[in-house]
Amino acid sequence: MAKAILFDVFRCTGCRGCQVACKQWNDLPAEETHNTGSYQNPPRVSSDTWLVMEFREIENENGDGGLTWAFRRQACMHCLHPACVSACPVAALYKSDDGPVLYDNGRCIGCRYCILACPFEIPTFQWSEGLAEGAEIKKCNFCIDRLGAGMQPACVHTCPPGALMFGDRDELIAVAEARIAEHPERYVDHVYGKEEAGGTSLLYISPVPFEELGMPTLGSDPIQKDSESIMHIATPVVLGGMLVGLSGLYWVVRRRQEMMGKSAGSGRQGDREA
């Protein structure tokens, strides 16, 4: 059964316990940052920070000074049909049966196409590692080592207000829909991640529209649908067609030249220009 995490933006207090728990469990070093004019820090996920809580001020007439906070979890969505996995030329990234999108850094050639392909801007690269250190791609791995030991991901385990919930994806979708049905005044009527990009293992429910939360507006098709059609259908057709077509064309041209008399082609044109 595919595992998933439900993130309830309404319940989140922005304490960033999840962000710290992620650093601690995964033994990630601190990052040198600057004040960007917000409580949020650092500005985005990186090779040393796999989970960032985004602090967003949303216009709301009932809020304090016309504004309310909304917190967005910025970390791997563990897509059901991950674009990064489709994009990786050496299959270093892969989708595990339980849900997590994992990677084997022993294969990575550092092309960074996964960074480009991900619609959530999640995979990151080690930009200051030279050949000796060996730069790697880094991102949230769903605490796969904890899951294997029957534990919840560190972020879920630590969340004080219970804004994060770990479980089977189908059950979490039911929970999310029940919360929306129970308190329609609290939530936007949409479970983000149920359909987006073919479905994700991170499910969000939110009191503010998802665009204002900074989530990309995505259709229900996997991001890589067209690109995979090109690879699986167009490319083999072009490959076969070109080989057969060009060989055939060469044969036809050659036969025609033979019938017309070989010498005509080259000499005549060359002389004229002198």
Binding site: C88, Y113, P119, S128, I223, I230, M231, L239, L246, Q269
Partner: protein, 382 residues
């Protein structure tokens, strides 16, 4: 044609100094990158993971190397025997173009020492997988197509005859791999339906990249022949270049149709009148760098004038560069927390260094290898 009466002298000294300095600078920067990481010499980051090197060295480099497969196809497959004098310089330009691409990739790739992983770890869904294989295989084909020059120079008759016997299969393989490679560079960006500006995004990107590569192939042959005829003081096959240019208007017309048809098909023609940067670039490419050279190349007076041929070819080349930068950098949306990207000066140093290496290699080949062969009588004899 040749009004100057300067002595025929191999062009060296000042050029060698400048090229050598640029190559050394590029090498030094590459070493810094290998020690301290990509961040030390570039402005690349997690928001802009691909920059100048992918847009220019890879995408433009491969497109501008297409003269090799176009010329080889015309001569060996389509019966254009009289274009044979253009083949060797075109193959060399293409081969060096691909070597430039590979060199630049060796700097850009995060783990260049693992490039061979492409051979053993496969993912048939990845466009990058196709790109990687095409780079490797076509560089190999170009090396084989180029090898007779070396064999001839050193009088190695047996291997020369072997390659000569393979010339048709090599031309077929070259055209096939080039088509796959040129188009797959466009396909790379088909995975960005939500990030690439709608006016530039289309699942037809591979077709568009291929069409522009086919159009720029003859244009590059025109430029390369004209420049090398002046630098090396050789005769110019103006009639051949003019005839070669006749195909360009057809390709550009097809490209313009595909560009409009694509937007019409997806009901997005109104985007053309948004007046933003992306639509401005779109019009600049279509009018200035596609329609204008299409008209120019279809005029006999242009095809018979070396200067006009070169100008029109430059327009086509500019169009290719513009479209590659637009798709891979300019029209690519960024998350709202991302700063804008401008290449680091040292990124330019790498690009300039590898291009200088290519120019130097062309100069050396022109000097020491039988690059310009005259199989048919021509003006070069005068």
């Amino acid at each position: 044609m040749n009004t100057e009466t300067t002595l025929r002298r191999p062009p060296i000294s000042p050029a060698v100094v400048v090229l050598g300095a640029l190559i050394v600078l590029g090498l030094v920067v590459a070493i810094i990158r290998y020690v301290n990481g990509l961040g030390a010499i570039s402005n690349l980051n997690n928001n802009t993971a691909w920059g100048l090197w992918i847009s220019f060295d890879l995408l433009c480099g491969v497109a501008l190397a297409s003269g090799a497969f176009i010329t080889a196809s015309i001569v060996y497959l389509f019966g254009g025997e009289r274009f044979r004098p253009l083949v060797r310089p075109a193959i060399l330009t293409g081969f060096l173009g691909y070597l430039i691409v590979v060199l630049a990739l060796m700097v850009d790739l995060g783990r260049p020492e693992r490039i061979w992983h492409l051979l053993i770890f496969w993912n048939g869904s990845s466009v990058m997988f196709e790109v990687g294989w095409c780079v490797m295989l076509y560089t190999f084909v170009l090396a084989l197509e180029f090898s007779p020059l070396v064999f001839e120079r050193f009088g190695l008759e047996a291997p020369r005859r072997l390659i000569h016997a393979l010339v048709i299969p090599l031309a077929i393989a070259g055209a096939t791999l080039s088509t796959l490679h040129q188009s797959s560079l466009g396909s790379l960006f088909v995975i960005l339906p939500d990030e690439l500006h709608k006016i530039w995004f289309t699942p037809l990107l591979p077709l568009m990249f291929w069409l522009t590569a086919v159009a720029v192939g003859p244009a590059m042959v025109i430029l390369e022949s004209t420049i090398s005829s002046r630098v090396f003081r050789r005769g110019l096959h103006l009639d051949l270049l003019g005839d070669l240019a006749k195909v360009i208007p057809f390709i550009l017309a097809a490209y313009i149709l595909v560009k409009f048809g694509d937007l019409a098909g997806s009901g997005e023609l109104d985007l053309l009148f948004d007046g933003d940067l992306e639509s401005g670039l779109w019009w600049l490419e279509i009018i200035g760098f596609a329609a204008l050279p299409m008209v120019l190349f279809s005029l006999r007076a242009v095809r018979e004038s070396n200067g006009w041929l070169m100008l029109s070819a430059l327009l086509v080349v500019s169009g290719v560069i513009l479209s590659r930068f637009a798709v891979s950098l300019i029209a690519l949306g960024k998350p709202d927390f991302a700063e804008s990207y401008a290449p680091h000066p040292l990124e330019f140093a790498v690009t300039v260094g590898v291009v200088a290496a290519g120019v130097a290699a062309f100069g050396l080949a022109a000097r020491y290898l039988p690059l310009f062969v005259e199989e048919a009588p021509s003006t070069a004899a005068e």
